[in-house]
């Protein structure tokens, strides 16, 4: 498996690692099967994500995806953050190996789950967000072409 230089950069020098005390939204997702866990912390002011931090237990691609995802949403509005897909994360990293695409799904899911937490805590409704979308078992069910 070969990672792009960008993946390796974000893996070795991950941006925004850590936690936010009293975060406005916290999302933890994971795959119970392969054991990877990603935790995302958001600070949100006036609908803008002013700060974001993460912690990840997972492979190089999972760590790089978390790092890139935090960069992509920092300073963005909630609605903009909602548009971030796993594909966007992977593309921003100059691509991921096919067998590692599911790690970027973890990043997308962590953002959404943190936003859901924010929505629940504050009562702010976020369009397109549904509690039932987090079927953790589905995380790795991505078809990969050989």
């Amino acid at each position: 498996m070969m990672y792009s230089e960008k993946v390796m950069d974000h893996f070795m020098n991950p941006r925004n690692v850590g936690e936010i005390e009293n975060a406005d939204g916290v999302g933890e997702v994971g795959n119970p099967k392969c054991g990877d866990i990603m935790k995302m912390y958001l600070k949100i002011e006036n609908g803008i994500i002013t700060d974001v931090k993460f912690k990840t237990f997972g492979c190089g691609s999972a760590i790089a995806s978390s790092s890139m995802a935090t960069e992509l949403i920092k300073g963005k509005s909630i609605q903009e953050a909602m548009q971030i897909t796993n594909k966007a994360v992977a593309e921003a990293l100059d691509g991921l190996p096919p067998v590692k695409m599911h790690c970027s799904v973890l990043a997308e899911q962590a953002i959404r789950k943190a936003l859901l937490d924010y929505s629940k805590k504050t009562g702010v409704k976020i369009e397109g967000l549904d509690e039932n979308e987090f079927h953790e078992d589905d995380l790795h069910e991505i078809e990969v072409e050989d």
Partner: protein
């Protein structure tokens, strides 16, 4: 430090192989003068391999690698003895070359018992003996495990197999070159080996088949290898295997002493300097160069990538490196939960490694493990819990 994955071809080995590519390139099946060189070279290699494991020359058959030797042993016996029985006994910690071959046979009417192993990766001789049935035709247990380094009680297995008149194959791909082997004393009927694990070339191996054991061919065709393994012989490769095995055994004692000392030093120092680690495999009955350790709260692939930044090569049984969703079947078989197996690291020492290199690796490991743990949500939780 990943010598269990593969090794470079040693200079002495490559030197001996070289003339057989372009100079003495004759096809050993031809009858003219030029091809004599190839014939004699293969003969010499066969002799060297046989001598090392206390076999006869005509009991050694060259193959295209360890995997082919494993496939041949299992399928060749299964096909030959199909009318006698359809039950095979192996273990849960075999290499995929054995496991996937057995699974293939299961789809084709065979029944396979996969023996459990204890926390150290040892099979139970009791369970083995209890598993033998009237229709058991083959026992295949690896000599030493490639991941955790555990050495199985081969001689005892051999006795049990012989007592019950069942053929005994051992995948000795990790053992040949590292451990003394005596097929007669150990009652081994078939044994697989591979050159690239012992400083020989990739793509060549051998199967020892004890005289009197009847086996079907896996690869049919020309009359090479006494009609048992067809295909134009990989002459330079075979020469390389012969030289490599001879070298390995001429230096066995001295290399073993050195590797065991380095290995134990490494294990002890990792345990002393990094908290919450677990040694996998047997504390003493393990391959001389094998170190296998789980670091809690972190994942193996990220460990490997970080080590690679310092040009340290290693391997892991984590789910993320396996390409599948599950961590290594070996780590699961010794009873590790998924999340601990996830943080496994195998370092396998080679004959050229030094104490300085080991110290360097440990230093880097301390830093890397700490960095990755700081990023890990599991570590956080655990520290809070304390």
């Amino acid at each position: 430090m990943d010598h269990a994955a593969t090794t470079p071809v040693r200079k002495e080995v490559l030197d001996e192989m070289m003339p057989y590519f372009s100079e003495y390139y004759g096809n050993p099946s031809s009858i003219y003068y030029l091809s004599n060189f190839s014939k004699i070279a293969i003969d010499k290699a066969r002799e060297r391999v046989a001598k090392t494991i206390n076999a006869e020359k005509n009991e050694i058959y060259f193959t295209g690698g360890g995997t082919e030797a494993d496939n041949w042993a299992i399928k060749g016996i299964a096909s030959k003895l199909r009318d006698k029985g359809n039950h095979i006994i192996t273990s849960k910690i075999e290499h995929h070359a054995i496991l996937h071959t057995c699974e293939y046979l299961e789809k084709n009417g065979f029944e396979v018992t996969y023996l459990n192993v204890d926390e150290y990766g040892m099979i139970s001789l009791d369970e083995l003996e209890r598993s033998i049935k009237d229709n058991t035709i083959l026992i295949s247990i690896m000599f030493a495990n490639n991941e955790i380094g555990t050495i199985e009680p081969i001689k005892e297995i051999g006795s049990i197999a012989r007592k019950h008149n069942v053929i005994f194959h051992t995948d000795a791909v990790q053992a040949v070159g590292s451990l003394p082997i005596d097929v007669k004393d150990m009652n081994i009927d078939l044994l697989s080996m591979s050159a690239h694990k012992l400083y020989g070339p990739k793509g060549v191996g051998a199967l020892y088949v004890r005289k009197g054991i009847k086996i079907d061919s896996l690869i049919h065709g020309g009359a090479q290898e006494k009609n048992k393994r067809a295909g134009t012989e990989n002459v330079p490769g075979i020469v390389g295997l012969g030289k490599a095995i001879e070298l390995a055994y001429s230096e066995l004692e001295e290399n073993t002493a050195k590797l065991v000392e380095l290995r134990d030093y490494m294990i002890k120092n990792i345990q002393n300097r990094i908290p919450e680690v677990r040694l996998n495999g047997h504390p003493t009955k393990r391959l001389p160069g094998n170190v296998n350790i789980c670091f809690r709260y972190i994942e193996g692939e990220s460990l490997l990538l970080s080590l690679d930044m310092y040009k340290i090569e290693a391997s892991s049984g984590s789910a993320c490196t396996s390409g599948s969703l599950d961590p290594s079947h070996v780590l699961l078989a010794i009873g590790l939960p998924h999340e601990i197996a996830h943080g496994s690291l195998r370092l396998s020492l080679g004959i050229k490694n030094t104490k300085e290199e080991v110290d360097f690796v440990i230093d880097k490991l301390v830093t890397i493990v700490d960095r990755l743990r700081q990023m890990s949500p599991l570590y956080e939780k655990n520290q809070e819990g304390k």
